[in-house]
């Protein structure tokens, strides 16, 4: 698969815009938004509606960004589903059970994510186990450890923690009573990942890895380090969401978080990332996440049966993959003709 550098599209002619990889995602987002705006009415168009789907988008988005980068580099991460509850449980046990300061709990929770990411990275780079299987393995292992340790330490599958005012303000409050602070963290993550993937020289390494790992290695890219770094980033993202959830809902559960596995992959794919790696963009992932969240929340405003929402997301996923292929073919044809 060819590597793709979105930097080259500097001219903003109509042709270059329509051939940008994000165009399909943008059209998808607009179609979905207009559809639900028509059904959901004034409430959905106003601040309550926006904050509603942005709150959902922020959490899945913080995970979808690094998961998307991993997919661009040709790897999957299923373990995010159990890192979310593991990190929230770690934070709740440290702060709620042992009554340590909030910062200790936050750092403890984040290190759970980084550690799981490191293990994933080591398994994927040191063995021949494909990342899909490796991370399913770590997902189950982490799930079991979380349950076992929670029951051993606390004797319970849920641990309560009521955070202090500052921590609550930073990680679990609602701006204007509606907009979860996670939205602002998400925007921060988008900026960081955009810089990393599209502006810094490391971004091309990620694309190169997904294009052809062997050639990338031969070209002098430290492929193993990049892969491990990306796995740790996705562990970090999942852990961050887990901690934000404890601070928001004041309790950690051993179960839960499984929904993030497929939800994050769907956001990434709807956002135009190629499943085989080598192509994708941060703006695409952002749009994919927004589309996913609008459908997820839109169904409640549109008073549709929630199962209809799942059908729409399923269809959207298939349409996204088909249209991405179409847009890619368009872009390729154009590039070939120009020669």
């Amino acid at each position: 698969m060819t590597t793709q550098n979105t930097e080259q599209a500097n001219g903003l002619s109509f042709g270059s815009i329509i051939r940008r990889p994000e165009t399909g995602s943008l059209i998808g987002f607009l179609v979905v938004y207009i559809f639900f705006a028509a059904l959901g009415g004034a409430v959905f168009l106003g601040a309550p509606g926006w904050s509603s789907w942005l709150n959902i988008a922020a959490e899945v988005g913080i995970i979808a960004l690094p998961v998307g980068l991993l997919m661009i580099s040709g790897e999957f991460d299923m373990s995010v589903g159990s890192v979310v509850p593991a990190s929230s449980m770690m934070a709740a046990i440290l702060c709620g059970h042992y009554e340590l300061p909030a910062l200790v709990g936050i750092l403890g929770g984040l290190s759970v994510g980084l550690l799981v990411g490191l293990v994933n990275g080591l398994i994927v780079t040191r063995t021949t186990i494909p990342s899909l299987i490796a991370t399913i393995g770590t997902m189950f292992a982490v799930m079991g450890l979380t349950l076992g340790l929670a029951v051993l330490i606390k004797g319970s599958t849920s641990v309560s923690y009521i955070p202090d005012a500052t921590t609550k303000q930073l990680l679990g409050s609602f701006v204007g009573g509606m907009f979860n602070v996670s939205i602002f963290w998400w925007i921060g993550f988008v900026v960081v990942y955009f810089f990393f993937l599209h502006l810094s020289p490391f971004g091309n390494w990620v694309f190169a890895l997904g294009g052809d790992r062997e050639s990338a290695k031969n070209a002098g890219i430290p492929t193993d380090k990049v892969t491990m770094g990306l796995f740790m980033a996705s562990g970090f993202g999942a852990a961050f969401v887990g901690i934000a959830q404890v601070m928001t809902y004041q309790a950690a559960q051993v179960a839960g978080g499984q929904s993030f596995i497929f939800n994050s992959i769907m956001c990434v794919v709807i956002g135009g990332v190629l499943l085989t790696g080598g192509a994708g963009s941060v703006i695409g992932i952002l749009l994919g996440t927004m589309t996913f969240a609008v459908v997820n929340q839109g169904i409640f405003f549109a008073s549709l049966d929630p199962n209809v929402g799942s059908i729409i997301i399923g269809v959207l996923l298939l349409v996204a993959v088909l249209s991405n292929d179409t847009f890619r073919a368009l872009a390729m044809n154009y590039a070939t003709k120009k020669k």
Binding site: P48, S158, Q250, F300
Partner: protein, 324 residues
């Protein structure tokens, strides 16, 4: 079938009569339950042991038999029942968690003429089928009903049950009970079904609740089916800016929920009161074995127990004592 049952019943009564005839006898009661370190079961165990104080004063004893883990629950529990018979139990208390695996062992208890009380799981259906004395426990439908009735009596007229696990029989029973409860006092009930993609995700539950409340402004009462969902739904209500209008009750409780009830952000929590299950099951059997007295009320309900602002302080004391 019916003949066997009545024969067994007669035999049981005959044996009990012989035992009881010779002055008051000490009752060695065996209680089969969950792991002692399971938070719910530790409360049941405490209730059983508190009732056991009376049994011990009369020369009897209470022995707790719990599995090491829940990996092989049915067969393990059946094994514990047989152990109790072998150790010469005068009376046995047990939950009918997995009828297929456990019923043969319970039948052996009744066949050996040992008085049996089913508690926690199984209901009257299992109790009657096995020929046990009584059932002590909570019923899902009635728990939901109590929440609906409570909110209806508090002046709420339109309730929705937040079902995060559509299709699960006990959850459907909670919701059906809630709707029937609020309808019984003149309100209307509905169910907010969440898609499968949001199960276990507090944010998804909170946002769904919030959207539903904004889109259906007539709703003024909610019922959530577990403590995690209740926490999420409370957040959803606040984000919708409807804390003044919408009241919520939820199943089970934890520290944050008791704090919410104290703060007034949650109206009530429904508890199945495990302590009562252990306490009454043991008391019924102790009195029966010692004096031949019975409780003619069949199906002793230990739940729903309602926790609201009027008794939350008492519940917090109970939590500290380990009984709740």
């Amino acid at each position: 079938m019916k003949m066997t049952k009545s024969f067994v019943a007669t035999a049981t009564n005959a044996i009990i009569a012989t035992c009881v005839a010779g002055s008051a006898m000490a009752a060695d009661i065996y209680v089969i339950g969950g792991k002692p370190d399971d938070p719910f079961w530790s409360r049941v165990k405490m209730g059983a042991e508190d009732a056991g104080i009376v049994a011990e004063m009369q020369g009897g004893s209470v022995t707790w038999l719990g599995p090491q883990n829940y990996d092989n629950l049915g067969p393990d529990a059946a094994e514990l029942i047989r152990q109790a018979i072998d150790q010469g139990a005068d009376a046995i208390v047990g939950p009918d968690w997995v009828p297929e695996a456990m019923d043969p062992a319970f039948e052996a208890v009744v066949a050996a003429g040992i008085p049996l009380v089913i508690y926690n799981a199984g209901g009257m259906e299992a109790t009657d089928k096995l020929g046990a004395l009584n059932y002590v426990g909570a019923v899902d439908y009635k728990s939901g009903f109590a929440a609906g009735e409570y909110l209806g009596n508090a002046g709420k007229t339109n309730g929705a049950c937040v079902n995060t696990l559509p299709g699960a029989a006990n959850i459907e029973a909670f919701c059906a009970g809630f709707n029937a409860g609020i309808e019984a006092v003149g309100g209307a009930g509905s169910v907010l079904q969440l898609p499968a993609t949001s199960f276990g995700d507090a944010t998804a539950v909170a946002q769904a609740v919030r959207a539903h409340l904004l889109q259906n402004p007539e709703i003024d009462a909610l019922f959530a089916i577990g403590d995690a969902d209740t926490n999420a739904a409370v957040s959803g209500i606040q984000q919708a800016g409807k804390a003044d209008q919408v009241s919520i009750c939820g199943m089970n409780f934890n520290e944050s929920i008791l704090a919410n009830i104290q703060a007034g952000t949650q109206a009530c929590a429904i508890d199945q009161q495990g302590y009562q299950q252990g306490f009454f099951a043991v008391s019924i059997l102790n009195n029966y074995v010692n004096y031949g007295v019975t409780i003619p009320t069949r199906e002793i309900l230990t739940g729903p127990g309602i926790i609201d602002s009027s008794n939350v302080e008492l519940v917090i004391e109970g939590v500290k004592a380990g009984a709740r």
